[in-house]
């Protein structure tokens, strides 16, 4: 029972019962342990993002169960699911999904707002994370003025603000050049070494074939393939 996250017979269907019904995941069962770096690979439309959203409690599976630390979470009511999401997962989205018009620091600290921690504590942690990612001097800069690599580091800092044990990143290097992709991989490895579970989705060979990766899971048409 060393698994931190378990997926049991997950099936995910979009637009169920409608003319455009689409099955994104079929009978997916997986488990992830702490302190591992996993990459989900596969072509576009293979179900990588759907698997990440189900894993991260951003969406519920149509069938199957999701467990975090042995606790069934996929049937929790929305407010409790949001708490699990906030405490357990940090997300780095493909387009970074930062909120324009706000500073890097404000973007970073946003996930901590619902926790009710004192403002000073949250801001100090946000500044520390930005400094750790070499963005301290840009903390008060509006995010839309930052470069792609800087925006991604802001997104990483945001994912870490609540100190979650699991980091999920969807196509994190899709918009980055080789140097920045290597830098991201370096960060992912550091996070793994800190004891976090890092799960990336990617079809970038620089990521999929990198030696730092502990485990590779390949998806095709919503199924896990060898």
């Amino acid at each position: 029972m060393n698994s931190f996250i378990e997926l049991e017979a997950i099936r995910k269907v979009f637009h169920e019962g409608e003319h455009n019904e689409f099955t994104a995941l079929r009978d997916v069962s997986l488990s992830f342990s702490r302190g591992s770096l996993t990459v989900l690979s596969g072509p576009s439309g293979s179900g990588k993002t759907s698997l990440l959203t189900v894993l991260g409690c951003l969406s519920r599976p149509t069938e199957g169960r999701v467990k975090v630390e042995g606790e069934l979470v996929s049937n929790l009511p929305e407010p409790l699911l949001a708490v699990v999401r906030r405490r357990t997962f940090g997300f780095v989205f493909q387009q970074f999904q930062l909120i324009p018009g706000l500073s890097a620091l404000t973007n970073v600290v946003l996930p901590a707002y619902p926790t009710g921690k004192p403002h000073r504590v949250i801001v100090d942690r946000g500044l520390a994370l930005l400094s750790h990612l070499s963005l301290g001097r840009l903390a008060h800069e509006r995010v839309e003025r930052l470069s792609g690599g800087e925006q991604q580091r802001v997104a990483i800092a945001r994912a870490l603000i609540n100190d979650p044990p699991v980091i999920l990143a969807d196509e994190p290097t899709a918009n980055l050049d080789s140097a920045l992709s290597s830098a991201f991989l370096q960060t992912a490895r550091e996070l793994r070494d800190e004891g976090r579970t890092v799960i990336l989705s990617s079809h970038d060979p620089r990521i999929c074939d990198a030696p730092e990766i502990d485990r590779r899971i390949r998806l095709l048409d919503g199924r896990i393939t060898p």
Partner: protein, 380 residues
């Protein structure tokens, strides 16, 4: 408790930064919203003040007024009529009053000419309302010439002008000596326009009125409470008219706010999706939107109410007075006593804050209950 306060303070902080990001649009909404509150609040404050004022002024008026009717028209009472009422049980005082209307073609306005029995002006002198003095451009010591209905010109010296505070009832008033009044209107000295009756026991007013009606068949007996009711109805009707128009504005504004919110811009929907994806729940998003609604509507409510207060109690409501106070040439100028009725505030907030907050909250709620994975799927 600390965590709750911290959470609210952080949500307010975020709301403020969200509002600042669309400063132009939010300021425009704030301006329109404030104008709406201003119109509604001006109407309600002014009507309320008028009602208070009329009640205060009428509190000194006689309990019962007696008018004589002849063929359904207002006719003069005789001294004998008045004498028949005096001995009625419950009547403490009765006074025959002489007054009449006079149209002054020079200023194209109607005056009310009234004879006063106690402490009257000297013969040939008058005391005039503020409106009369203003319209004729005269002041104390000046002469006012009035041509009587019979033709001769009468010249009176103004010995006093009523203060503006009493203008609600005195603006068109010209008070004169009884002999001057009789001479001006050429009315027999034993006739009077109506009679004012004071009743010993206020609870007996209706009984006294019934006895008067029996004693003087064909007379019209008007009670003070009926006049008050008439004033209330009049102001209610006028206020209702303006409020109906303003409510149309409010409804249009609510539709606009709804439209703006329900057609949540793509970036706003995306923002809600991001917030949910990074750990906010529906309640957090709604609380943030509630704060947004509360801040905008609170600011607009405060600004509109303050502006309405200044408009009504400092500038005498020039924008709503023509509708609410009357259509006369002689608009009364009067100072209203500032007052704020909690019930009125509640009604006003219900008419303004409630629709806006609802129009902001419901579409946000619809956006907030969708799965946050749309953010990720949108990026796939």
């Amino acid at each position: 408790m600390h965590a709750w306060i911290n959470r609210q303070s952080l949500l307010v902080d975020y709301t403020l930064s969200a509002l600042a990001r669309h400063a132009g649009r939010n300021l425009a909404i704030l301006a329109v919203y404030s104008c709406l509150v201003f119109v509604l609040a001006s109407t309600m404050l002014f009507s309320d003040a008028l009602r208070r004022e009329s009640r205060a002024l009428l509190s000194h008026s006689p309990d019962v007024l007696i008018q004589k009717l002849s063929a359904g028209r207002h006719a003069f009472l005789t001294a004998a009529d008045v004498e028949r009422i005096g001995p009625l049980r419950g009547v403490s005082r009765i006074e025959g009053r002489r007054w009449g209307y006079f149209y002054d073609p020079a200023v194209r306005a109607n005056y009310t000419l009234m004879a006063v029995a106690s402490d009257p002006p000297a013969r040939g002198s008058i005391r005039v309302g503020e409106g009369v003095a203003r319209l004729s451009g005269l002041a104390k010591g000046n002469a006012l010439a009035l041509r009587s209905p019979e033709g001769p010109l009468h010249v009176f010296t103004i010995e006093g002008v009523f203060r503006e505070e009493s203008s609600l009832v005195s603006t068109d008033l010209v008070l004169m000596h009884p002999e001057d009044w009789i001479e001006f209107f050429q009315v027999a000295s034993d006739l009077c326009t109506d009679a004012a009756v004071t009743v010993v026991n206020p609870a007996e007013v209706r009984n006294v009125a019934r006895k008067v009606a029996e004693r003087l068949p064909g007379s019209r007996v008007v009670l003070k409470e009926e006049i008050l009711r008439t004033y209330d109805s009049l102001f209610d009707w006028r206020e209702g008219l303006l409020l109906a128009l303003a409510s149309l504005l409010a409804a249009s504004f609510a539709v606009l706010a709804w439209n703006k919110a329900s057609g949540l811009a793509a970036d706003e929907r995306r923002e809600i999706g991001i917030l949910k994806a990074i750990g906010w729940d529906t309640r957090d998003v709604l609380t943030m939107k509630l704060w947004e609604g509360a801040l905008v509507s609170g600011c607009a409510f405060g600004t509109g109410l303050l502006a309405a207060w200044i408009h009504v109690f400092h500038f005498r409501a020039p924008l709503v007075a023509p509708v609410l106070a009357g259509w006369s040439v002689l608009y009364p100028r009067f100072d209203l006593t500032p007052s704020l009725d909690p019930w009125m505030l509640l009604t006003l907030s219900f008419l303004t804050i409630f629709p806006y907050t609802l129009a902001t909250l419901v579409p946000a709620w619809k956006a907030a209950i969708t799965d946050p994975d749309a953010v990720m799927r949108g990026s796939e």
